[in-house]
Symmetry: C2
Subunit: 324 residues, 2 copies
Amino acid sequence: MTDFCGAVDVGGTKIASALFTREGEISAGKKVAIDNAGGDAAASQVRDEIAALAEAARRAGGRLAAVGVCVPGIVYSASGKVWAPNIPGWDQYPLLKKIGGLSPQRAVPLVLESDRSAYVAGEAWKGAAAGARDAVFLAVGTGIGAGIISGGRILHGHEDIAGAVGWFGLDPDFKPEYASMGCFEAEASGNSVARKARERLAKGRPSAMLDLAGGVIEAVTAEIVAAAARRQDPPAMEVVADVVTYLAMGIANIVSILNPEVVVLGGGLFQAADLFLEPVRREFKRWTQPLAARSVRIEPSALGEDAGLYGCGRLAWRTLEAES
Amino acid sequence: MTDFCGAVDVGGTKIASALFTREGEISAGKKVAIDNAGGDAAASQVRDEIAALAEAARRAGGRLAAVGVCVPGIVYSASGKVWAPNIPGWDQYPLLKKIGGLSPQRAVPLVLESDRSAYVAGEAWKGAAAGARDAVFLAVGTGIGAGIISGGRILHGHEDIAGAVGWFGLDPDFKPEYASMGCFEAEASGNSVARKARERLAKGRPSAMLDLAGGVIEAVTAEIVAAAARRQDPPAMEVVADVVTYLAMGIANIVSILNPEVVVLGGGLFQAADLFLEPVRREFKRWTQPLAARSVRIEPSALGEDAGLYGCGRLAWRTLEAES
């Protein structure tokens, strides 16, 4: 009988699931919209997806040996409770108990992780960090956070909130917006790109960004900034250069303290690879411990939106290896 | 027969050694000056100290069960080679082989670590971080570096140079001195305190620091800056405030990425606790992920110059526990 591990990636709007063989072959991939009610309704969906994976494993002539589940927020490892700000009612919510307590008759080992830990586990299994025992996944989208593997193990910290690098202090000139989200996130997230552009436009600077936004400053997005920068629009290029500096510093700080083999960059911002990825690769070195800078690779995510699924699959297999 | 573990802390000028019981009782403490020739002569001294510890253990009615050795630099864990810039010839020097190959007839398990990893291991055993599974030792003296324990294990990184936090980028305005030592070290080490004061004096600013230095700008030290700041000397107070900001940011970045239970502050700078420790404890929070800031303790080293010895003793005992 073939063993499969199940993976359930719970996002803010959808739940993705799949089966994985020990070798990392994916099958039975599926996505469903998450119940807007959140709470027990969303947990019930997770339970249903696990049951569906068990059924899919049986149909494939095997069995579901373990399941990995990741959530968009914090997983408190001691209690199995979660905090996921985009899912109503998931605040100190006992997710592990809810999905474990009502699983099919035959109990299946369950592992619960934060999404960013799943991303780095996935990339270190079958993605841009494949085989690495020291790897970091840096997600730069609307926010900034990191998943960390060090010496082959996921790093959780004392209270399961390690990787909050959006809070990196990178500029001693403290600005009011740092207080709510942290300096790095305020200076280099996708939202900050748009905000910095709008600030420049509000000062009356002429820019192609305004035309692209239909003349409405508030309609300027990170995508519009990128498009204008590619047309050599000076204010847009300034914004990009400014953000690149902070990204380079943030990545440098990760590399100097952790000495990883690879840093995988994910999230929306790095889809503009020409504007952000290549300049960051050049600039991070001046800010980094030189030996650590020389040996680290800076790579875009290879798994994209499947990184979490692969990570859940990997973590489920790891659970079995640790038990045997 | 009582088991003892030996500890040998190799510094730039001296070699300290001691025996430890499993409970952390220290005995047979001893210090010798290190041979200026470095190389094999220094390695031979380490070997002699290990032999002396074995003899001391026998005299106490026991035996030497394992030995921990730390060196002031990098230990390459795969090869047992070391890089210690203050010891001549210890550049890719095969220290583990040299001291293991010529040990007393009965081979004793040997563990080799960097000094900063030993410091954090010592403080997490019997010092300011006693019992913590997530702890950081931040040394701020002539340079800046960190030893890290995460999830109960020392964090080494891909090439054994994790903890190079002196390279943290904390100010986007890149200054020439950052290129050789890193931004954090250039802005907040003991040497930088003196340099910042001298720069102010060179601009002709009146200051009590000049009197304390006998009128010679080059004679201003960090100690003189501290003495003048305590007398409310404005340029000295500016230097202290400036350094406190960077220290707060650097500690904040460590706390946000690692989520430790405790950060232990060591090195010369924090001996001026009134000027640096208390202000840093107040200021780091605004730069730190709020949940991580709330739960972390910021403590001065409890073991002082014995931290490395305790760490070596702890690591030796850990080796035995891992084997049994």
